[in-house]
Every structure is written in structure tokens, then in C-alpha cells.
Amino acid sequence: MELRGEDYVVTYAESRHTVEFFGTLRLRDSSDYKPLTDILDKALSDSAGLLVLDFRNLQFLNSAGINIISRFVISARKADTAQLRVLGNNEISWQQKSLGNLQKLWDKVSIEIR
């Protein structure tokens, strides 16, 4: 499954239980982010215990996008059906600064920033 915009690509590899983000994601609001929310929800429902969110190639994410990811983490916490593993890149500021906040929403999220 793949979501492609002018500045970004999001892929969902079902066999690896991994959602990967590429480019710059700066959409207007939660209705523009709906297709992404749908992919995340689907990935969670077929996760079989583990879901990986790989942001290492996402240069920018705006606060509307951070909102979407954060709310997804909250819904995963409520469902409590899968371990979330978040991969980040230490050379990209927003990841270094903001990804850690996901753990404050759910302490079971594992975050690896390299």
C-alpha cells in the first residue's frame, strides 16, 4: 500500500508490519491527513503484535502531522494490541527534538534515533 503526494511518499509493507515515510509532509489539517490516518489504522489492525513506524527519511513533518501521529499513538495505547517501534534519524532536527514526545503519550513505545 502506498500514499503518494507531490512532496512525500508513505509506504505500508504489510509483510514487514512497517510504515515508512519519505520526503516532506506538511498537509493542511486532519482532513488532508485522513488517507494517512487510514493507512496507520489498517497497519495497526493487521499488526499481529508489532508495528514499525520508520521516519528516518522524512525531512519535515508539520505540527498538524505530529498531531496525527501522536493521536495514532494514543489510539494504539488504548487498543493495546501491538508494540510500537519508532525509528528516527539523529541528523534531522524535528526527529531529534519531537519524536521523544511520543513516549510521553505511551511509555511502551520504543524509540530508536540513530
Partner: protein
């Protein structure tokens, strides 16, 4: 509502000590109509100002070029997106100002809104300035709706930004809303 309201650490620009200034005046309608212009404008100014900063290997007392470009782009994009979402007069201008100062860099955006929206804005800004922004951030996310102010909270919590606001009656029943975000670029 008051003719002029200032909140947070609003500063009138004295100008004389600025190392650099830039001002872009855009038509509000342009950024409503083509959303990607927000990101484009932020990226342009971020790249432009990144040249003041050395590459990572040489950045000992200040943020590196890579960090500067990333941080400036994030902050400006948030500020410009807000003007695109909340301007009420498509024919009016949105102003984007950057001031490089001796130890910080200040971004300012100004746009025009109705009195109703100006009041909502002042209420939101006052809440932000009440402090405990970490808690405000987390509780906003836990609530089902209302994510307004989330961008400002990420700037404060994650980028160490200081905010200032000025809301002023501008004639023709509109109010001008100006937001300043200042980020330190010198590091100890």
C-alpha cells in the same frame, strides 16, 4: 475588544543592532489557494539564513548550518501555515519578517482577521503564556478535539522558542495579528 493587546515577550523592533533583516509581503489569497507556498516560503528563508551558520564540524559556539536550516524551516512553516489558515481578508497582505540579532533570530508574521477571530486568538495566546506548556501539549493531544495552539507548543517545548503577540485594530473592522517567535542561535 481593546485597540491593542500585547502578550508574552513582544518587542518593538529597534533595528539598529540587527545583523540582517528580511521582509516578504505576500498576498493572503496566494497562500490559501496554494498551500505548498507555505512550505516553499519557509524553506527559502531557512536556506537563505542558514548561510550565516558554519557547517557542523566548525560550529562550536553556535548551531550548525544544518540545524539552523531545519529549525528555521520548521518554525517559519508553522507561522506561515497559521496565517494561511486564519486570514480573513484574502486581498490583504501577510508579512513575514526575519531579524538576525546578536544572539537570537526572530521571526514575525502579521495577518488580518475579524474581531471575533482576534478575540479567540488572544484567548489562545493567553492560555499558552500561562506556562506548563509540556502539560498543555499532552492534555491537548488527549482531548478528542481542539488541537489549536499545538504548533506554538512544539516551538516552545521542542525548539526553546520565546513567543510574543500583538493584536491591534487596523481599521476597516479588521484586526492585525502579529506573532513573534525568537530562537537562540548561540550555544554555550
Amino acid at each position: 475588544m481593546e485597540t491593542t493587546t500585547t502578550l508574552g515577550s513582544w518587542t518593538e523592533d529597534a533595528g539598529e543592532n540587527n545583523l540582517s533583516d528580511a521582509l516578504l509581503r505576500l498576498k493572503a489569497a496566494d497562500i490559501f489557494q496554494s498551500w505548498r507556498r507555505c512550505s516553499l516560503t519557509a524553506d527559502f528563508l531557512a536556506r537563505y539564513y542558514s548561510y550565516y551558520f558554519p557547517y557542523r564540524e566548525k560550529a562550536t559556539d553556535r548551531i550548525s548550518r544544518e540545524t539552523a536550516e531545519n529549525n528555521i524551516s520548521y518554525i517559519l512553516n508553522e507561522l506561515i501555515e497559521n496565517t494561511a489558515k486564519y486570514s480573513d481578508a484574502a486581498d490583504k497582505s501577510v508579512e513575514v519578517t526575519v531579524r538576525l540579532r546578536p544572539s537570537d533570530i526572530q521571526f514575525q508574521v502579521t495577518n488580518r482577521v475579524t474581531e471575533k477571530r482576534a478575540e479567540d486568538f488572544v484567548r489562545m495566546a493567553a492560555e499558552l503564556m500561562e506556562g506548563n506548556t509540556e502539560q498543555q501539549y499532552l492534555s491537548k493531544l488527549e482531548r478528542e478535539v481542539d488541537s489549536s495552539g499545538l504548533g506554538y507548543l512544539t516551538m516552545i517545548n521542542d525548539y526553546g522558542v520565546t513567543l510574543g503577540f500583538k493584536v491591534e485594530k487596523s481599521g476597516d473592522d479588521l484586526f492585525s495579528v502579529a506573532v513573534q517567535a525568537s530562537m537562540l542561535w548561540k550555544e554555550a
